[in-house]
Symmetry: C2
Subunit: 421 residues, 2 copies
């Protein structure tokens, strides 16, 4: 596509999404549920067609030599399509966040000020690989009353295109305002650049993909960005920890799924219990195939550990590797976490309530855990009903995000002719 | 100062603020109130010294030929100093936002998930002219548990320096962690550039000043920015409006203080009542010295009005000028507001509840008013207890901002050895 043509096309899609968002914002929860359930039915009816188009992407990926892990992410099968459809039905059943009265102020007689929850407007999703994001993103945005612009990766183009067509057609037939789902149908990467310039039309950008993608987007747009953060998570075993609890949590936080953001990367152990804890935990890690790297104090106790260098404390391994540091005090543990962590999820294991309270208060992270695994930091586990991601930013959304984070608020004021004196 | 020296100085001040913010975050409401009241006392005791230093700035401004309105903003007198001190006492008396339980989730037995309100950390304030911002900003940031970095304009340097010294010394004597208030003591504008690069230390930037300053900051930093927005506000007089109410609101919204962001710039009038409303409102505006510019339909009724050109609909006059447009319907009024407005504050005057509801739902602004003046959009009027500004952004803060907008949240999770299955 010519550059100017592409620019015009993206602009007109964004403008059309903005128009649709006005109509969508005033739809009832029932109307939106009906649309979502129609989408789920249509996906179900067209499952074979989805798999057929996905196969084209998967074959092309294999031919192009895409890494196996990425090809796996790209691949749909019957079970994955069913899970995607169930996801749509689950979101349809969630409570509608729109219309919630967040604050009810009565500042004076005859005037009524309410802060109510409303949709953001237009949300643009820029994502890589997994085609299910096409459906997940559209579902969550619609549920919260927003129009959505979808820009997926080129490797999933055939899958994304058929998914977008199925959900769009069924949603419009069920009453969705035309234009409320916009699929950017090009593999030209400059479409992203065009999208980033449209701060007049797009209210929120959600990138899903590599840290490079997210950073590129943050640096090149005035549109607010909401992104899933990097996770360099710690567990600190206090001198008053219950040993069995400590071991269970340390193993779970590291091993249950090492490649995700809320898995632990560094274990801190109080010096008073290091001699007891370290050999036991090392044995368990060895059974799980985890490579252990230790500070000098740790290696005095567990000489089989490799040496941890300065870079280890700030490395998100995403793998079966752990760095272990012996600390002299709770204060040192907190200082280490605040210095090296990514403000994502950090845990203390202790029976001492005052140590727990101090850790909760002073560790500056999105989620702080006492006697629980950092792996529990998750929207579904927390009971938010869905999983949009975990934010490590401090404004608008912090930690596990639910539907509320896809909304904003407005003040509605009803007076009786009130004026400013 | 050498560039490198300045860079190091700003960096070390930001790092010191970050350290102090950790201690500040865990202080009780009582401790913070004590500090704020000590600041108020010290300002009161040193009022003469403040006025003496302010006089130096004012004289220099006059000699430099600074515009009278800016010189006035710069000028302190006894009454203004007293108002500033009362402001500190008022904030001290507000409810502490820190520690509030925003969500209380019980997703499973034996696990307790709370989303609680916590300070942001370090807030940097970049402002022009008014020296009272030095005190206001420090007061509000401290109340919400944040360390603050103050970078004022060079024209107010002597005033800002003495104010910062008085509040800092008295606050530290009353128990504030050293370093929690940082005054950037230079008139070198590159200090702002240095500050904008410190996203590792600064959690939030609040610019107060010209639109150019705010835009420059937004475009040149990765630090989240919270800013007071531009106000292009409308009042729409519906066909079912009460005439007396309509006239009162239209005069108040335009004339009570035309230079502020929540004053009205454009009046929309339904065609069915234009013949009755326009001559009456024009007479009142004429008495108030307001220049009227009208669309062709309006000028058929009030030929004395000047012609409104396309640019008028998107001009924030900040002055005794109004543009008037006759519209055919409520829908046309809503579309005009959503197209030309700044999503700040917009009002409808009507006795028709369904028209009011439609306007409230479809006007996409931070504050939407029924039978009330847009001038009422204000933190103090709304009962938030303080006035940080009015945000026209949609993320984190929208509309009148209170202390809550100077905080974030974190999840604190207390388990009994819970792990992810």
């Amino acid at each position: 596509m010519e550059n100017n043509e592409l620019k015009q096309k993206v602009l007109s899609q964004a403008a059309s999404a903005k128009d649709a968002s006005r109509a969508l914002a005033v739809m009832t929860a029932q109307q939106k549920s009906k649309i979502l359930l129609a989408m789920a039915d249509a996906l179900s009816k067209n499952a074979k067609d989805i798999l057929f188009h996905n196969e084209i992407d998967v074959e092309a990926a294999k031919e192009a030599g895409l890494a196996a892990v990425l090809t796996d992410r790209l691949t749909l099968n019957e079970a994955r399509v069913n899970a995607m459809i169930q996801g749509v039905r689950d979101v349809a059943a969630l409570k509608d966040p729109v219309g919630e009265i967040v604050e009810d102020l009565k500042p004076a007689q005859n005037i009524d000020v309410k802060k109510i929850r409303v949709p953001l407007g237009v949300i643009a999703m820029i994502y890589e690989a997994r085609p299910n994001v096409t459906v997940d993103a559209a579902t969550l945005c619609l549920k919260a009353g927003n129009a959505v612009i979808l820009k997926g990766g080129s490797e999933a183009m055939n899958s994304n295109r058929i998914l977008a067509k199925i959900i769009y057609d069924s949603a419009v037939a069920a009453g969705m305002p035309a234009g409320a789902i916009q699929f950017i149908d090009t593999t030209d990467r400059s479409a992203v650049t065009e999208l980033l310039a449209l701060d007049k039309y797009v209210d929120l950008l959600i990138p899903r993909g590599s840290e490079e993608l997210v950073n590129f987007i943050r640096k090149n747009t005035l549109i607010p960005v909401l992104s899933h953060g990097k996770g360099l998570c710690h567990t600190y075993i206090d001198k008053d920890a219950d040993l069995k609890t400590a071991l269970e949590i340390a193993v779970n936080a590291k091993c249950q799924r090492p490649a995700v953001c809320n898995a632990m990367e560094t274990l801190l152990v109080h010096k008073d219990v290091a001699a007891e804890v370290l050999p036991a935990i090392c044995k368990l890690y060895s059974e799980e195939g985890v490579e252990v790297r230790g500070c000098p104090l740790a290696r005095n106790i567990i000489p089989e550990a490799k040496e941890a260098v300065e870079a280890d404390w700030s490395t998100e391994y995403h793998d079966k590797i752990i760095s272990i540091k012996v600390v002299n005090s709770l204060d040192e543990a907190i200082a280490h976490i605040n210095k090296y962590g990514s403000q994502h999820s950090d845990a203390i294991v202790t029976k001492d309530k005052s140590a727990a309270d101090k850790f909760l208060a002073q560790v500056d992270s999105a989620g702080v855990f006492v006697n629980a695994s950092t792996r529990l930091h998750d929207g579904s586990v927390f009971g938010l009903g869905c999983e949009i991601g975990i934010s490590t930013q401090k404004l608008h959304a912090r930690g596990a995000m639910g539907l509320k984070e896809l909304t904003t608020t407005k003040y509605i004021v009803r007076g009786q002719g009130n004026i400013r004196k």
